[in-house]
């Protein structure tokens, strides 16, 4: 297997040097760019497996660079930014980011997110049967098993869990889930989603107060964690 390559687009020289050490000591090859312009060129030139993108670049906003990258770059993009406002995060995810981390960050968490992004990048074509710890989702037979017991699910509950399974590790915004499951006209019906998530958790989670599968990203959406 070839060494995975990561492109870091960040204009802070210290963050660059630090990520270089962190990522390379975790076995990744690191490319670097300090501006949107050189980032775009580097993304095309070195074809990285993942891009870590800062939103505050000197020559162009990271959000618009993200949109431009997404015109042709289909590998994962992870946002790493000091911007911690929910609307910025939701906007970045809507613009095609796979995940979002706020600076300051813990390196352990960053590496976990990088690995999860890489996984979701690989599983471009979904296998019909996916296993997440005690949970098995079979897209072919439309069945979900927990500890080998078939779960009784309504069709909406099944669609939700299938959507999560296909996007394991990735934050899905409220709006995205509502649009995918209920349709674009339900995009503001947050309470629907809350009710269904609560139902699903009651069926999936061992301890409903400390969910392990469906994690709430406050003000943004949900993340399904399978590993």
């Amino acid at each position: 297997m070839h060494q995975k390559e990561i492109l870091v687009i960040d204009d802070e020289i210290q963050i660059q040097r630090l990520l270089e050490i962190t990522l390379s000591s975790n076995g990744y090859k690191v490319h670097q760019a300090g501006t949107a312009k050189s980032g775009l060129a580097e993304a095309a030139g070195s074809a990285p497996d993942l891009i870590i993108l800062d939103l505050g670049l000197p020559d162009e906003s990271g959000q618009s660079l993200l949109l431009r990258l997404r015109e042709w770059f289909n590998k994962p993009i992870l946002i790493l930014s000091v911007q911690d406002r929910e609307e910025m995060i939701v906007q970045a995810l809507d613009n095609g980011a796979n995940d979002y981390m706020v600076k300051p960050f813990r390196t352990g968490e960053l590496m976990a997110r990088v690995r999860s992004c890489m996984r979701s990048g690989m599983a471009a074509e979904n296998q019909p049967v996916m296993t997440f710890r005690d949970l098995e989702v079979n897209l072919q037979t439309r069945t979900v098993k927990l500890e080998n017991e078939i779960l009784k699910l309504t069709s909406t509950q099944y669609l939700l869990i299938a959507l999560f399974a296909k996007n394991e590790g990735k934050v899905l915004t409220h709006q995205y889930i509502l649009k995918e499951i209920w349709g674009a006209e339900f995009i503001d019906q947050l309470q629907y989603l809350r009710v269904y998530i609560a139902q699903l958790r009651r069926k999936l989670e061992k301890n409903i107060d400390n969910p392990q599968y469906i994690i709430t990203e406050s003000g943004i959406g949900y993340r399904f964690v399978g590993k």
Binding site: D11, E12, Q14, I15, R17, L18, L19, I21, T22, S25, G56, P58, V82, Q83, D84, K103, P104, F105, R106, T107, G108, L110
Partner: protein, 363 residues
Amino acid sequence: MIVVAAIISRLIKRESGKGYQYFAGALLIIVPSFLCFLFHNYVSREVVAFMLLLLLSLIAMSFDIFPVLLAAILSAAIWDFFFLAPRFEFFVGKPEDMITLCTFFFIALLNAALTFKIRQAEKKARQEEEKAKAYQLYDIILNSLSHEFRTPLATIIAATDNLLTENGTLPSAHRAQLIKEISIASLRLNEQVGNLLNISRIESGLLKPKRNWCDVRDLIRNVIKKATENAGNHRIMVRTYDNLLPFELDYGLMYHLMYNLVDNALRYTPDECFVKVTARMEGEDLVLEVEDNGKGFARDELHKVFKKFYRGKDTKAGGLGLGLSLAKGIAEVHHGSIALQNIYPSGARFTITIPPQNKSLKN
């Protein structure tokens, strides 16, 4: 006469005291009315009515609502009393005169009310605009604050994470590099906290400089030594004139001022540029200059750069936009000044002028 009235009402507006406005409004009605009364054989009462309405409009444009209302009532009364038959009585003889008087009074009030409404709306629009501007500024400041504090913090946290979790696998060069990053980030953080604290001290007026006799050459030497620690390939030149004397300064603050200027020049000009520091006496004043041959400043930026939290256009990340406003603040607590100009063929020059602590003492 009308033009004179208009000018007077504008002038009075600047005085803007309420009492003034009542007085001036009444005067602007009474004096022209009196003149008309003197020539009432030549001026018809309709002309007088129109003239009074015009004066009222002018008053309404500049004055508050109550002085305008007073002028409206006064003009209606004067017109009735002096110009409508029977004269010198408030009694109105003919019914059509009664109608004219009512119409006059109504137009006068309408005039006042409408102008008042327009001005209220203008005021509201202006307030909303200011509020929007304040929000925008607040946003910019908050963003730059969070960026400036979180970036070095991110470096420190991530570097310590790396050091804590490695189990002897990290090459020693990397380990040394991580420790160096922590040190740079903490110093940067410390500098920013210092800037922020000093600017609030200066703004609150609590910062009083403690001026002692200083060797200016010493000061410059120390500033340059510190500022060039992390500098690239800039050429640094120092020129101190022979007339330079020991000077009473707050050493710590002046060091901070000069450091900010030199550090700025090093940071925002390309490598291979020069930075030149000059010190001399001009009369009894100490004059310090920091100049570079970088790009200089855009014309419209020359004044803005001293504003708090102002960040230059197209500048690299980093910096709170406090350095120059702090420099200005420090010059001012020394009762001095700071000026910025672009120089030929290219570059910028900051000139700081500090007057002596006590001129009489020296004589």
